[in-house]
Amino acid sequence: MRRVGHELGDWVPAAVVAVLVLVGWQVAIDVFDIQKFLLPKPTEIASAFWGQRSELWPAGWYTFTEAFWGFVCGCGFGIASALVLARFRAVGSALMPYFIAASAVPIIAFAPIANAWFGIEKGSKIFIAGMLCFFPVLVNTLRGLTSVRPSQIELMRSYAAGNVAIFRRVRIPTALPYLFSSLKVASVLAMIGAIVGEYFGGSQQQLGILIKNSAALFQFETAWAAITVACLLGIAFYLLISLVEHVTMRWHPSARRAQT
């Protein structure tokens, strides 16, 4: 069984596409005379990326730490709530409709108010990032914890296992694949939450402010370079979670290629 993206050779077509897109982009801007405020050339972005690295990376790091702590708090509360709701099913049924409704609320709308609640510095951004992470992690983890096959519960009960043992040995392992897929989504949402939160104010040293101010000052290469930093950090965050998933779930059929 060979899947796309597994062999080193499979990456060649993707790399070719990347080069073609970049070259096409560069050429198209000259050919169609596209204005810089619409889209700068890749080479201009690259030179801003390099020239302003001492400004970009600290800002990126600052934003990343906000996203990271938002992720930790949001996912932590999400997992803890899921454990409680799975343990006390009545509470779960009572609260679940509200959680589902709340997960549909555009959390970003709270960003300006979050500044008043948690201060204009890191606190408000961590709050927004955390809120964005909370619901998908809660809902997915809870689904994982409660989608255990009934025969596995019966099996455990035949060993005189109590609820705690069933939780530890069956429910939690069953929930792991669900948990990790939500953590990957949350890693992306945390970066989004942090950057959007920054658009609503804060000190100079963060990506959201840098992007907003550069765009306002017609420094579009800088804005695009900052966006590139945000992309790289976001992808790195996602890959980090995927790596943890891969290491934790070596047993999972999807983590391995067929072998018997």
Binding site: S158, A160, A161, L176, H252, P253, Q259
Partner: protein, 262 residues
Amino acid sequence: MTAHAAAVSIRQVSKTFGQGGTTALTGIDLEVQPGEFISLIGPSGCGKSTLLRVIGDLTEPTSGEALVGGKSAHQARLDRDYGMVFQEATLMDWRTIRKNVSLPLEMMGWDRVRRQERVRELLQLVELSGFEDHHPWQLSGGMQQRVAIARALSFSPSLMLMDEPFGALDEMTRDRMNIELLRIWEATRATVVFVTHSIAEAVFLSSRIVVMSARPGRVQRIVDVDLTYPRTNETREDPRFFELATEVRELLRESHGARETV
């Protein structure tokens, strides 16, 4: 616990699901002696799986009681007096074969060295030595079911409860598994209560067959199987085997009318 207690003793057990809902079992009486191989057979809806779960204290009877080795079924479950095998192997995907087999031992607090030793013995018994570090999804259905049997045997329970364990296997694998199960049964001397809806399987394996009828589930007749152990592939060609299979088939047909073929 008395010395001569029956392995399983079921007294006037009835089971109704929901309030005024379907009656799964009504007035079941059954005594199983130690070392017996008993099959429960009947059409779907006759409550044979429910009866097995009553014995295992996985569901409570609405009235009546089940005793296991002279104790209440509940106490027997807490004392881990029986091993259970389901239709699906019910292995934990995240555990290796070794760790699946030793799961009950872990829960009973055996230390690692003893567990390893026991797993080695058991995998030898079910002829799966060398698969210790595999994961369940790397094994065929028949192999997975053998792991489940090894797991149920791991703590040497005196009673095995098996709920259509080979129901999902193809017929050739099933025949082979039947012979293996008898070999294991003879080696362990455990009492087996075996749910099936295959007549051939019931006759081949059992010392007695409990023929049940449906709606409401009750015991129709108990058939003594007078074929000698050890049974082999030749047993399946014995004229007596056919006679017994025919007897069971006719009992099932009687209970079920001509509505369904069995």
